[in-house]
Amino acid sequence: MIELKNVSIVFGQGTVNENKALNNINLKVKEGDFITIIGSNGAGKSTLFNTIAGTYLPSEGQIFANDKNVTRDPEYKRAKYIGRIFQNPLLGTAGNMSLEDNMTITHKKGMKWLRRSLNNKTREIFRQELVQLRMGLEHRMKENLVMFSGGQRQALTLLMMVLSKPSLILLDEHTAALDPKNAEIVLELTNKFISEYKLTGMMITHNMTHAIEFGNRLLMMDGGEIIFDIEGEAKKALTVEKLIQKFHQLRHKTFENDRTLLAED
């Protein structure tokens, strides 16, 4: 699926502020994997996503997607097979446009031309898809998205991304900016879509319980490196205590300085 070979990202190369955000990362994401990623602030989690998505081009190393070298492909080209959701719920949708217009733009990836694909037939398809969210949005298709809450917009972004059938989805703390109730709904939907549509995905979270509960594989990052990679049965046996212990053992430092990481619910 996606493979990173010796990928490094260096910011401000050759200056005093030189900062190695990713250090020689090797990672192979297999088809059907759902990987959760944890790590403290500055560990390189978001940089890893930005590198996979193509926002940053690697300083060293290569990236392969379906065995094709995509190291130099710009973000918009990779977006055709990579779906991405950001922490900011407003980034996935256009607020000054109606719900149905947004869905028209997102239901198919790639350049749009002079066709008009919004008609009663597609409207009906969109309406049926929206029912899955159980938010009553199917009755509000002509409303501008500015009127919708962050949770609704994030759920919508998720649905629209899933409908475009990406081969890999990147979830960058996509529930962190939502209130607890909405966060739970969006997370539930995520889990539902991933198993229903058999998606390959990666999810950054600051919540260790979620990291353990979801997915079949877990990555722990620190200082731009993947320090711990566990999957299958071994991952199922993990507990929060064991994870903290593991980190301590690997890095000889404690998680205490980053309290967000200790959230357990």
Binding site: P74, E75, F86, N96, T104, I105, K112, M147
Partner: protein, 299 residues
């Protein structure tokens, strides 16, 4: 007088639609307009002088405007120049190009040429009262442009252009290159401006390199008046209508300023000051309006 105001408002209204596309839909403040307006006028005049059919000449003017917009977009996209500066660069270069097109002259009259307007006047004289012929003609032209734009912005491409002005990341996430979209949008916008310039040259009876001076301010003021007058809406048909209505209002104010300004000892050279003040007043009024009605909830 009233038909003069409407004719002027409608001719420049096509330019206002172009400005509306770049400023409001693409969120791309494009100053190329100051150069592409006289470009359209210059191309029209030269094509007519070389004996070309008026409608073909109009197409040439449109193509010239599109090209100017594309140049601005390319400078912005590939040299990573801020959009304002890219527009200023093209505008400055266009000044020289326009003088070249006009045969190294700053002003070329076409009073004796068979312009589109003259053909139309000849055809309809006797059917419609003479003073209303141009009014009806430009009403039709402006409406055709408006309807075509409305249709365009309801296609997938048009919607994506709108989404880009609102949220560029979203468009990138859909696998669309925002650079391509900007090139298309700014090109279209300047094409319309050039058409407006071409009609203005026929109406005025000459092309002048100075025609475009400050035109961007007029366009922006018109767009803002339109937004101020009308209800807030996200329907493209309403928005383009607002732009046209704004243009007519703005040129009505300018018309009055030109003809009755002498009463308060105003000279034509004061008009630019008036335009600027008008924009500032509009900005203040819009702010005040926003404070009063913080959020309007749809049913």
């Amino acid at each position: 007088m009233i038909e003069g105001i409407f004719v002027e408002g409608l001719i420049y209204g096509i330019m206002v639609l172009g400005v509306f596309i770049s400023f409001r839909i693409l969120d791309f403040p494009d100053l190329t307009v100051d150069g592409s307006f006289p470009l359209g006028a210059a191309l029209m005049v030269q094509c007519l002088l070389s004996g070309m059919n008026g409608w073909v000449a109009l197409l040439v003017a449109f193509a010239g405007g599109v090209l100017a917009g594309v140049v601005t977009a390319l400078i912005h996209n590939h040299l990573r120049v801020p959009n304002l500066l890219a527009g200023i660069l093209t505008m400055t270069m266009l000044y020289s190009i326009n003088i070249r097109i006009l045969g190294n002259r700053a002003n070329v009259p076409i009073l004796d040429q068979p312009t589109i307007l003259k053909q139309v006047t000849e055809k309809f004289t006797g059917i419609i009262p003479d003073e209303y012929i141009l009014l009806v003609f430009f009403l039709v032209v402006a409406l055709v442009v408006k309807v075509l734009l409305d249709l365009f912005f309801r296609t997938d491409l048009g919607m994506t252009l709108g989404a880009m002005g609102n949220n560029e990341q979203m468009v990138i996430s859909q696998g669309v290159n925002p650079k391509t979209l900007k090139t298309i949008g700014v090109g279209l916008s300047n094409g319309l401006v050039a058409i407006s310039g071409a009609f203005a040259a026929q109406y005025l009876g000459f092309a002048d390199v100075g025609l475009g001076q400050g035109i961007i301010v007029s366009g922006l003021a018109s767009v803002m008046i339109g937004e101020f007058l009308m209800l807030k809406s996200n329907r493209i048909g309403v928005l383009t209508f607002c732009a046209l209505a704004g243009s007519i209002c703005f040129y009505a104010v300018m018309y009055v300023g030109r003809f009755y300004g002498y009463v308060i000892h105003m000279t034509p050279s004061d008009l630019n000051l008036i335009k600027g003040v008008l924009i500032i007043v509009l900005l203040i009024m819009t702010q005040a309006k926003k404070l009063k009605v913080p959020f309007k909830v749809a049913k």
